[in-house]
């Protein structure tokens, strides 16, 4: 890791470890995940939904909330406080600052995803012998990690664009929602005639991961989206410098 990236990452990780807002976000995320999972277990019992499928959906749904709350102050908060201006006049590479902040935020999001595995520990007692294969759980975790990556990168981009943290949060929600809808529309448009196009590719890839299948196109899509967001963020900050 580059020196500047490491310094910025350490600073952001420290700030997050002391921030009541981050702890509140993580607590709310865990509560939502657990609540949704146990509600889904009640409703989904006896249906075709598998246990990992219910779990991955109940974690993927509140995941954007965690990513948004963690990323919104990264640049917008610094801009509102006036420290971003002071940071930009230093002889540092903007791209490295962005990567440092992004890594700190993504680390927190990953911590949230790993924490959401806890319900399995409770379930493992009651479902002895009926637990899903480890590969399915691992694939689900990787897919959630990819979703977290995309939401965090989108959050960073909106934080660079916005003047206030709340505007960054709204922007991320709108941009992310728009991207999901656009993805669904494009899938229908281009795949509808040839294949059995899924109504919502986002849900499909989550359910596939819960069944232990990881598609390469999902990996490429999330990595490209994240890289694109970080690249645009760097360009925007560089031109405003």
């Amino acid at each position: 890791m580059n020196r500047t990236t490491r310094i910025v990452w350490a600073r952001e990780a420290f700030a997050m470890s002391c921030s009541p807002a981050v702890y509140t976000a993580l607590t709310a995320f865990f509560a939502l995940c657990a609540g949704l999972f146990f509600a889904a277990l009640q409703i989904g019992e006896g249906t075709f939904w598998s246990l990992p499928a219910l779990w991955i959906l109940s974690v993927a749904l509140p995941l954007p909330l965690l990513a948004i709350l963690v990323t919104m102050p990264l640049f917008a908060g610094e801009r509102a406080a006036g420290t971003l201006q002071q940071l930009m006049i230093l002889p540092v590479a903007v791209g490295r600052v962005i990567v440092g902040k992004f890594l700190a935020a993504y680390g927190t999001v990953l911590l949230g995803i790993l924490g959401a595995v806890v319900p399995w520990l409770f379930l493992s007692r009651g479902l002895a012998g009926k637990l899903p294969p480890l590969a399915a759980l691992a694939a689900a975790l990787v897919m959630l990690g990819l979703h977290g990556l995309s939401w965090t990168a989108l959050g960073v981009l909106c934080s660079v664009l916005a003047r206030r943290p709340w505007a960054a949060a709204i922007g991320t929600l709108l941009l992310g929602g728009g991207a999901i809808l656009a993805w669904a529309a494009l899938s229908r448009l281009f795949l509808g005639g040839h294949l059995q196009a899924p109504a919502f590719p986002l849900v499909t890839e989550l359910l596939d991961a819960a069944a232990g299948r990881l598609a390469l196109h999902s990996l490429v899509l999330h990595l490209s989206l994240s890289s694109w967001c970080l690249f645009v963020s760097r360009h925007l900050l560089e031109t405003r410098r």
Binding site: T4, G82, V92
Partner: protein, 242 residues
């Protein structure tokens, strides 16, 4: 060391700076004075690279501050803005250490510089306090310590005496005089008593225009009186033009 050429800046169509040119020699302390809204902070912001000029050029050591070699200028310059933003969740020494690391100071040198600037700027007594709990005067001192960390060749200070008591202001004056030995200082202030002592010349701005460059140590009426007369003349001139 510093050359400002025909700089112009507009805010939403309104001219904030109009055709301002000035030259500051190496080792000089140049004070920029002017009533509120004269364009002092805008001029300093453009020199520091925080704001972009609509027209004109800023050269630091012959290098265009907004050009391809802007990073070279950033390495030689430090800026203290008027409101002095700090990382409020960090303790003073943590804030300074973070800034020093970003400025590229190696661990050993950073430790030595931290000790030195905290001592010279009077930050030592509150170095363990959270930056968010400091008074305006204390924030200004921390901002100044931050600016001095790398011993910059060009120091740009916007209201460095804001919130300081007379004793601290005096201390900062002595410190700036010392800084001019290895660098150039461009500062804006409303404190005429200190402006007269700091540098041999001061630049007067009025409504975005450079109206005069005064000799601060000349015989005759004090600088404050001369400036009052100048502002009156400018105001009368502006009314006459209107």
């Amino acid at each position: 060391m510093l050359e400002v050429r025909n700089v112009e800046k507009r805010y939403a169509g309104r001219l904030a700076l109009q055709d301002v040119s000035l030259e500051v020699l190496a080792g000089e302390i140049r004070v920029v004075v002017g009533p509120n809204g004269a364009g002092k902070s805008t001029l300093l912001g453009i020199v520091a690279g925080v704001l972009r000029a609509g027209a004109g050029q800023v050269l630091v050591g012959g290098v265009d501050a907004a050009g391809a070699r802007a990073d070279l200028v950033r390495r030689q310059m430090a800026f203290l803005p008027e409101n002095c933003p700090l990382y409020n969740d960090l303790r003073v020494e943590e804030h300074l250490a973070y800034r020093g690391k970003l400025k590229g100071l190696a661990r050993k040198r950073l430790r030595a510089r931290l000790r030195s600037v905290m001592e010279s700027c009077g930050v030592e007594p509150f170095r363990r306090q959270l930056a968010g709990r400091l008074s305006l005067g204390q924030r200004t001192r921390v901002g100044l310590a931050d600016a001095l960390l790398t011993e910059p060749r060009l120091l740009v200070l916007d209201e460095p005496f804001a919130g300081l008591d007379p004793e601290q202001a005096e201390r900062i004056c002595v410190l700036l005089a010392g800084c001019s030995r290895h660098g150039t200082v461009l500062l804006a202030t409303h404190r005429m008593d200190l402006a007269a002592r700091l540098g041999p010349r001061c630049t007067a701005l009025y409504r975005g225009r450079l109206v005069a460059t005064l000799d601060t140590q000349s015989d005759g009426p004090p600088l404050a009186e001369r400036l009052q007369a100048l502002w009156r003349a400018c105001a009368a001139d502006a009314e006459g033009t209107a």
